[in-house]
Amino acid sequence: MYRKPVNGWLGRGCQICCLAASLLFGLLAQALAEPEPEVWACLLYASNDKTQGELPASLSRYYERLHENLGYSAFRVVAQGETVLKPGQENWLKVGTDIKVLLYSVSRTGRGEYTMTLQVFDGGKPLVETQARVNRGSPLFIRGPAWHAGQLVLAVMIES
């Protein structure tokens, strides 16, 4: 009885299936490999001015809590900046002309959170150093010096 010769142990149908599966695995790997996150910082001027100002969209849901905790009703963006957060490196983030944030010892936990050391400089002078555990989209607020009729507040957040 005549039998069609088979190329190794894989027939043509199996070869097509393997190729398609490889392509899908490639797509899957690409989807799973998350890009390096960006860290964003925003310097806010908090005051009780009648002109309310506006919080950036990513911070707008914290308005009530900021109002309760800081006692100011108006928040206005004075400066902002962002940079790519690279684990194992020193990441400098410049906010306006004087404020700089140094992020280092960045590592990612199994739950997708980041632990890092964060140092805030004001005109080259170290202001505060903190170790924090944050997740994407959760801003950390630092209430700074008084300015004009209000106060400066720095928000640092890993973008989601």
């Binding site: 989807a31 555990r133 944050v134 801003p139 950390l140 630092i142 300015w147 400066l152």
Partner: protein, 162 residues
């Protein structure tokens, strides 16, 4: 040692001797034996093998039929639903399912809602001992409050100043 059935069969065939034979010699067993012999004779007379009239023709027809079926079997087209194809189809479907699950469903939405806000300050210290850092860790907001800072000059933030 022979069982009863073996002895009984040997007795019916007339092959039992001695003490064993004597144990079977009684009226009821003799009647049994006669009945058995009658039945055997009837079967021999009634069932006879019939002779086929044209055995060679029958054999040739049978062989021709077998040859035809063999030829049809070798010409049969392979269908798409063989067992290996089902197995590969299953593997392919599984891979496709996983790929779609991971690519199409945004994982940020299946995050535990209780861990929505995570910003925990583990340690905070200031370079200047006169400046005090107070950490206000709350459920949905974390603020580091720096106390005793000098008031920033009005020209501090030049670009965006009012």
């Amino acid at each position: 040692m022979k069982t009863f059935e073996e002895k009984f069969t040997a007795w019916l065939d007339g092959n039992l001797h001695g003490e064993d034979l004597r144990s079977f010699e009684n009226d009821s067993m003799r009647n049994e034996k006669e009945e058995f012999h009658k039945l055997r004779n009837l079967l021999r007379e009634g069932i006879k093998g019939c002779q086929m009239e044209h055995p060679d023709f029958f054999n040739s027809q049978l062989m021709a039929q077998i040859e035809r079926e063999k030829a049809n079997g070798s010409r049969r087209v392979k269908t798409w639903f063989g067992l290996p194809r089902f197995a590969w189809g299953g593997v392919f479907a599984l891979v496709l399912g996983f790929a779609l699950f991971f690519t199409m469903i945004p994982r940020s939405q299946i995050r535990d809602p209780r861990s929505d806000y995570v910003a925990e300050v583990l340690k905070a210290k200031t370079a200047d001992p006169n400046i005090k850092a107070t950490v206000d860790n709350q459920k949905d907001i974390t603020i580091i409050k720096l106390e005793n800072l000098d008031k920033a000059p009005p020209e501090k933030v030049k670009k965006h100043d009012r």
